[in-house]
């Protein structure tokens, strides 16, 4: 492996407390060289289908685990009467998770192969913790969907795929897991392929690669198995290394996004009396000279400089935190949005949105919350609950309330006009959360617009739940 360019550094020889190996094969990423190629993915799927075991297996077999971490997992496994290693303990690090053998909240892990860097969100599968799954999936480029192949897709698998797709995940890698339990029976794999194809088509998923695996034994995870000669596609690792990156941030994305937007976070006073407006760029790059409109006020101005502490930038790329100087002395404060004059967002006091509801108390018309949209927090009222998504039939059904973990559509009115884009055009200006004003808890994740469900000829056979 060529990851370490300079292997000549003096490194302590193995001794009682030496911690270094000389073997470059254990390197986690190329030393000293920032890597552009970064994939953020979320492991999703139903409880007990093997997400954490798969992530543990992947990290173990690609040598991402430190020796002391492996020892700790072995020790914890032994303490619970498990022979060898329970690889789910790699990410299930909480006391309660290990007691119950489930994942309660997202674990973030960081890994790198010679091909690319990964940020992994290992999400909980239990329906009770759907809010945590949504947290993990909300920043993912790709979802790794884990399915218990002998049992097929469950309602919770469908819910997760729906949420991931609504959150904008367009690429799926599906691990048809536990193939060892059914002697690598191809028909079980084929059934997962057909069910996932149906879901993917309906939800607008662009790519869906189904891979027969055994997370427990490591077949087709990092290493190819010879147990399934009928399968000639990629392993999980190969699929992860080949998947498109930058989908989330749109840094390298190919989808049609909005024009440049800068939600103002903070006003910086410059020596000499001027001001610059600080925030993170989204939608598209912003350059000195660009015409912008301040929303909601509607004042027009021109960017005269894009500043950072390291000096001015000719162009501020999407995802960078900068501050912007304007040509005119306009009134701009936190919560306002600077938008490219040629491509303005919608300025709304009422919006139709798709929401995932997280609170134990149902969502009903008339309820009051605070909405956080970009850097603006303002009171919001639910005008109406319009529909609930049936995650099995993938249909919007009329509804007047949403229960915990339901996905649905609502109409919301807000106290201060918000500058929004449809979620599919811009994930920053198209997203919001609802906050309970009494507890300050986040009770809903919202996306501007209706879910994009492709009409489909129903095939009732494919809708059976095999759980």
């Amino acid at each position: 492996m060529a990851a370490i360019a300079d292997g000549t550094d003096a490194v302590a020889e193995a001794g009682g407390v030496s911690e270094y190996g000389s073997d470059a094969d254990v390197s986690r990423e190329p030393a000293g060289q920032p890597v552009m190629d970064l994939l953020r993915f979320a492991a999703v799927g139903s409880v007990d289908d093997g997400k954490s075991t798969l992530i543990g297996r992947l990290l173990h077999d690609t040598k991402q685990l430190f020796d002391d971490q492996i020892e700790a997992v072995e020790l914890a496994s032994r303490g619970r009467g498990i022979d060898g290693m329970d690889l789910s303990f790699v990410t299930d690090g909480l006391r309660a998770e290990r007691e119950q053998g489930i994942t309660i909240d997202v674990a973030y892990r960081y890994a790198a192969t010679p091909a690319r860097k990964f940020v992994i969100a290992d999400c909980p599968g239990h329906v009770q913790y759907t809010r945590n799954m949504a947290t993990g999936a909300s920043t993912a480029d790709l979802a790794l969907v884990v399915v218990d192949a002998p049992k097929g897709l469950r309602e919770q698998t469908r819910r997760h795929v729906c949420i991931a797709a609504l959150l904008g995940v367009r690429h799926l890698i599906v691990a048809a897991n536990k193939m060892d339990q059914i002697d690598w029976d191809q028909s079980a794999y084929d059934r997962v392929v057909s069910e996932m194809a149906h879901l993917s088509e309906r939800l607008g998923v662009v790519s869906c690669t189904v891979i027969p695996v055994s997370a427990l034994h490591g077949d087709n995870v990092a290493d190819r198995t010879d147990a399934a000669p009928w399968y000639d596609g990629p392993t999980i690792l190969e699929a992860l290394e080949q998947a498109p990156v930058g989908e989330w941030a749109g840094v390298q994305g190919t989808h049609q996004g909005s024009g440049a937007r800068l939600p103002v976070q903070w006003v910086l006073r410059q020596p000499g009396g001027g001001r610059t407006y600080a925030g993170m760029i989204n939608g598209g790059p912003l350059r000195a000279g660009d015409e912008v409109v301040v929303l909601p006020s509607g004042q027009r101005s021109r960017v005269t400089a894009v500043e950072t502490l390291d000096g001015p930038l000719r162009e501020a790329a999407v995802g960078l935190s900068v501050s912007v100087q304007l040509a005119d002395d306009v009134d701009v404060s936190r919560g306002d949005l600077l938008a490219a004059a040629g491509d303005l967002p919608d300025l709304v006091t009422q919006l139709v949105a798709t929401v995932c509801w997280f609170d134990g108390k149902p969502l009903i018309a008339g309820a009051q919350y605070r909405i956080k949209h970009t850097t603006r927090v303002t009171p919001a009222r639910i005008v109406s609950v319009d529909a609930r998504l049936d995650v099995n039939r993938l249909e919007l059904l009329p509804a007047d309330s949403l229960e915990e973990n339901d996905i649905g559509t609502v109409t919301i009115s807000v106290a201060t006009p918000l500058a929004t884009d449809p979620y599919h055009r811009n994930r920053i200006t198209g997203s919001f959360v609802l906050i309970d004003p009494n507890t300050n808890g986040t009770v809903a994740a919202g996306m501007v617009g209706l879910p994009d469900l492709t009409p489909l000829d129903e095939d009732p056979a494919s809708l059976d739940d095999h759980a």
Binding site: V17, G21, G279, L309, K372
Partner: protein
């Protein structure tokens, strides 16, 4: 580069040209931008934030990010050190010098004071004080009315930290409840708490140890000299190399000896181990980190060795 023990700390001509000449965005740029974003959100949404600065490498990076977020203005929060009293003198020197250079206000929450006032039991001479920092920290939060503590913790440090939100809620008793964390979607960080409650904010959540060192190299961030290889008198104990000091002396059967070491983390001197290393430059440290087979805390922190869930247990009580 040769050595960064005494690097330029201000914005330099080189760093300006570096940005201008590099239109593309790399992963350090994105990590930095995200950290700046989080800091500005916390400063804007919370009434009385504070930035925790130990003089360690992560908090040195945190301070640089704070400068990038708020200069040319002053930082919109004070800087606070939770001081165990078991310090490496190089770290305290660095802490004071760095805060003075920045022209910011340094608060000290003292574990010694907690002991002297009977808030916590004295663990005795040379006893480990890491866990006692919780009381000093929570007392300072109450005394100053802080509603957010910005810290340099990273998710790659520990399996409990791996589970924690960027903005992590603490109840009126300072407790973290890992089963009831607030959902945290996209980059919509919600900073509101009720009186008595507070948040811990972790702008470096997604950074790895290697990212920290690469950023230190890129930004030429000064660190306490003990992060670089040096000769030091050490004592081998429980598989760790402890620095001989006013609090750590050889026990029967142990001998102190000279060794070339560096510190991978900096904490209470009684439980922070050194590692054997010849790495005198950032570049060499980056190489060592890239091929290390032992995690940062596994190599250097005795306080994580008590039980399977040491960090989670401490965090539940209100630890960093």
């Amino acid at each position: 580069m040769t050595t960064t023990l005494d690097p330029p700390t201000a914005t330099t001509v080189e760093s300006r040209s570096r940005i201008a000449a590099r239109p593309t965005v790399d992963h350090l740029d994105l990590l930095e931008a995200h950290a700046i974003f989080i800091m500005r959100e916390v400063a804007a949404e919370c009434e009385r934030p504070v930035l925790l600065f130990s003089g360690g490498k992560d908090s040195a990076v945190l301070l640089r990010v704070a400068e990038k977020a708020f200069r040319p203005g002053r930082l919109p929060f004070p800087v606070m050190h939770v001081d165990t009293g078991h310090n490496f003198p190089e770290v305290i020197d660095f802490r004071d010098r760095r805060v003075a250079e920045l022209g910011e206000r340094l608060l000290i929450a003292s574990v010694q004071e907690s002991i002297d006032t009977g808030r916590v039991a004295d663990p005795g001479h040379g006893g480990m004080r890491n866990r006692l920092q919780t009381t000093a920290l929570l007392d300072a939060i109450t005394a100053h009315g802080f509603d957010a503590c910005i810290g340099g913790a990273r998710r790659d440090e520990d399996k409990a930290r791996a589970k924690e939100r960027v903005l992590s809620f603490r109840d009126a008793f300072g407790q973290w409840d890992p089963k009831r964390q607030r959902p945290e979607l996209w980059q919509l960080y919600s900073g509101q708490v009720r009186p008595g409650e507070h948040l811990r904010a972790f702008p470096l959540s997604d950074w790895t140890e290697l990212d920290i060192w690469q950023y230190i190299e890129r930004e030429a961030i000064e660190l306490p000299s003990i992060y670089y290889a040096h000769r030091r008198s050490v004592i081998e104990r429980d598989g760790m190399l402890l620095a001989e000091s006013a609090w750590v002396a050889p026990r029967p059967g142990e001998t102190a000896y000279e060794e070339t070491v560096r510190f991978r983390t900096v904490g209470d001197a009684t439980c922070t181990g050194a590692v054997r290393s010849e790495a005198t430059t950032v570049e060499r440290i980056i190489h060592e980190v890239a091929i290390s087979r032992v995690s940062e805390r596994g190599a250097t922190r005795a306080d994580d060795r008590f039980s399977e869930t040491s960090m989670e247990d401490r965090k539940r009580e209100g630890y960093f």
